[in-house]
Amino acid sequence: MAGDTVRTWGDRGVFRPRELGPPSLALGAPWRLDPVADVPDTVVEAGRVGALEVRAASSRGASHRFDGVVRQDAVGVTELAGRYVLTAVAGGVAAATDTHLGAQLAVRHALGYLAWTLPNTGLGALDVADALRAADRAVCAAGPDPASRSTTLTVAVVELGPTGRGHRYRAARVGNSPAFLLTDGAFLPLFDEPAVRDPAADSLPEPRRPAGRARGVLRSGQALVLTSDGVGVPVRETPAGAYLAEAWSEPPGPVAYLHQLQFDLRTFDDDRTAAVVWARREEG
């Protein structure tokens, strides 16, 4: 198998994943179906909400595809009455047996909570961390042994707002799934990142540390990027950062976006999940 760069299984031609280094063996191996029927290998979502462009996708990583393990990450994006874009990314915690359940629950309930509360509070009075707490309750209440459903969760709200003044955003997270502001070709960390990644990273249910919070204004041409480790770590530490910064300088089409997330970088074989909200460049 050594040095074999001819893929015997998978996409070819223009659909072949972009190799950012020596090709991995894992990526060329046939996928295996996983035992969970209602969590597909990949989900993709895309849309335009006024001046905002939204793309989101979550795919199994090469290792889960090879091993026949369910996708452990989850992603959700939605719009609220043409006034807000809501996004959530949950990153599976591999040690937890039903982490995919926790991730799905966390995304659904965090977004559900925001959709319920935002019309009353507006963005100004909103504490996005309340959405994390709503997700926490849902993960806890879903059955015995809540720890088996451990997951990280990052949520963000972007406001359409008045034309030409940018878009206010609020974000919060449990765990250290990376999130960025993509501006002028650089991924700037959205949250304060610990100097050393914590081996016992925080997660739902019952997080041990206070939620991380971030707020700001998304300017024309910038993008707000929520990721799981499978995307965020290579973005931060490898040439995948330069690759995606270039690819995302403008909002790609939905299928192109999915393809971009499938980049091949040996040993980075975790689930790939990202939700991106672009403030479109002003025309003229």
């Binding site: 280094g21 991995s24 063996l25 894992a26 990583g61 990280t152 081996p199 074989d269």
Partner: protein
């Protein structure tokens, strides 16, 4: 290109007292080689090094991708059993390997050592000092050690060497299965979200039971 690499050291006792088991161990290593060759997830993320020891210790196969090795060097019996030589060479080798991987820009996880022996060292009084240097908490690259007692092994000694887990063989089962399942478990935990740090603290999730082996209580010294 930066990668996330788990270095894996298989350290085999090839003293005379192991003579009855070396054929099985050689078969086992060949099986491990074949198994990893067909396991792309493990093949991508691990690098293997084979060290044999008796009175002296030798790097039989330097750290590399197991899929790059055409044929593994066979273990052959030699006189004496110096654990001290094995531990000293292991520390030197790990130090050098980790430095080289980091210099190439890779993220290196805490190395894993598989120590296979019948647990009858001939340097009873001197090996513990070499062992202490290998597991020195001040040394950032100190490995997680999983020890396997082969044949008529001394359970106390085997239990003392494993920092993470220790197993006693109780049948005809080849350690290859055990090694492959550990390699799988370790690389799967490398994948785990948030379960690791750039300087090598890896949350180990390894099988608690390995077919054909009895788990020993790991004895903190």
């Amino acid at each position: 290109m930066p990668e996330q690499i788990l270095p894996f050291y298989v350290v085999c006792d090839q003293s005379y007292s192991m003579a009855d088991h070396l054929d099985a161990l050689n078969d086992g290593l060949a099986q491990l080689h074949a198994a990893v060759g067909t396991d792309p997830v493990v093949a991508d993320k691990t690098r293997f090094c084979l060290i044999g020891f008796s009175g002296a210790a030798t790097v039989l196969a330097p750290l590399c991708r197991l899929s790059d090795i055409v044929e593994l060097v066979a273990l052959a019996t030699q006189p004496a059993t110096s654990f001290g030589e094995a531990f000293t060479l292991l520390r030197e080798t790990i130090d050098k390997d980790v430095a080289a991987l980091k210099a190439d820009g890779h993220q290196v996880y805490r190395p894993a050592v598989f120590f296979l022996s019948d647990g009858h060292p001939t340097d009873q009084t001197t090996w513990p000092a070499a062992y202490e240097r290998l597991v020195d908490p001040e040394w950032p690259a100190r490995p997680n050690i999983i020890s396997f007692g082969i044949g008529d092994a001394d359970a106390t000694t085997i239990g003392r060497i494993g920092t993470f887990q220790a197993f006693m063989s109780h049948g005809e089962v080849s350690p290859a299965t055990a090694l492959h399942s550990f390699a799988r478990a370790l690389t799967t935990s490398v994948v785990s979200s948030g379960g690791n740090t750039p300087d090598g603290d890896l949350m180990l999730q390894v099988p608690e039971r390995v077919a054909g082996f009895t788990a020993l209580q790991v004895d903190p010294i």
